[in-house]
Amino acid sequence: MESNVHLDLSDEEEEITAETVLKTLQTAWQNERLAPEILPHHNDMVECMLGQIQHMERNINKLAKTDLRASIHKMELNRIKFVICNYLKTRLNKIEKYCIHILNEERLRLETSTNYLTPSEYKYAQDYLLNIENHIKSVILNKVPSNMQALEMNKIAEYPNLQTHVFLKANEMVNGVVLEDLTGEDEEIDLEEGSQHILQYKPIADLVKNGKVQLV
């Protein structure tokens, strides 16, 4: 069974193995699970894996049901499906929870094509918010006194806590991460390759997104 795949990466077409795609997806899943905010999507990885699954499932059907190899492949596919489902579901939970905030930010990001959501996720978020608005209006806001009827989006919006503390492992040497201290004495630390830390998410958010650190 062929396990090399073609994946468009910017202009040049680069060949990367399915194995690499799977590893990337697993890392993306782990980070998404552990980061307070929504991270840029990895739709290309997801679709690539789905393609692999499809391809593999067709091949499994050619094997006898009792064939040991069939069970091994099925088990692997179930493992990958778990990662994909859990990854997408984790994102959906964040999209629902921080809906107003994420949509506001996403509108700005769309202008520069640096969107974090897939088109499907974006549409889902919009419909989700519209449903909430309609429900709140029909049950409460239309029935309260006239000066109370405004739906104050900025008030009901929830925001991810970027100051929350997370555990991370450095994938490579990172110099000069600034830990803010409220007393005004900021501290600067270096993250050596392989070292592990617990610190605020905010100063290392970009490092998670560019892969220099990994949340654990």
């Binding site: 008030k155 009901i156 925001y159």
Partner: protein, 194 residues
């Protein structure tokens, strides 16, 4: 400690707690706020315990309509006890929302010492959370913990239990979803009562 977002029920319950206040101006037709008063208007100079949300709102007017006094758990005498050994204080009785309420009233402390008291108390009492998380007693029987400490201890205990279960047995079986199981339980209980 939960967040203080607009929709947070936790924060709504915290701000429902009463704080002692002194009214600085007459408030026409608000006499009913004082259960002991018989007049229609609330007079300047009245001392009254009112919910925190109302106090915050009256205090934020320009000029402020009230002055807020520190609830006794944040006053000097308790600060000394907390400073000596915070673990001896029964927060369930004395400060159900000790930290959350403290964050709101700290600005009314002229000496500015409430902040340090909150932090030191939390640092000292952290070991109570550590031991509560591995204790076999149910969290609700742990009287001395404040409301948010209980939530944290319960969450830590859940982690401990999951880990202990993982270490003990092989596979964790697939189970019914939480709400499904709870609704079924509730229905059974209701049936038995009939």
């Amino acid at each position: 400690m939960e967040n203080t977002s607009y929709l947070s029920i936790q924060d709504i319950l915290v701000t429902n707690e009463k704080v002692p206040c002194k009214f600085l101006h007459d408030l026409p037709k608000m006499g009913f706020l004082d259960p002991s008063a018989t007049e229609e208007d609330l007079k300047a100079g009245t001392h009254l315990d009112i919910p925190l949300w109302l106090a915050e709102s009256l205090y934020s007017r320009r000029p402020p309509l009230i002055s807020v006094e520190l609830p006794k758990i944040y006053k000097e005498s308790y600060r000394e006890i907390l400073g000596a050994d915070a673990c001896t204080v029964d927060m369930h009785k004395l400060g159900k929302y000790f930290y959350e309420m403290g964050c709101y009233v700290a600005k009314h402390d002229i000496k500015g010492e409430v902040s340090a008291t909150l932090m030191n108390t939390f640092r000292q009492r952290f070991r109570m959370l550590l031991s509560a998380s591995v204790s076999n007693d149910s969290i609700s029987s742990m009287q001395p913990l404040s409301e948010s400490e209980r939530v944290q201890a319960a969450a830590a205990a859940t982690t401990e239990r999951a880990l202990a279960m993982w270490l003990q047995r092989g596979e964790s079986p697939l189970t019914a979803a939480n709400m499904v199981a709870n609704h079924r339980k509730r229905k059974r209980a209701e049936m038995e009562m009939l």
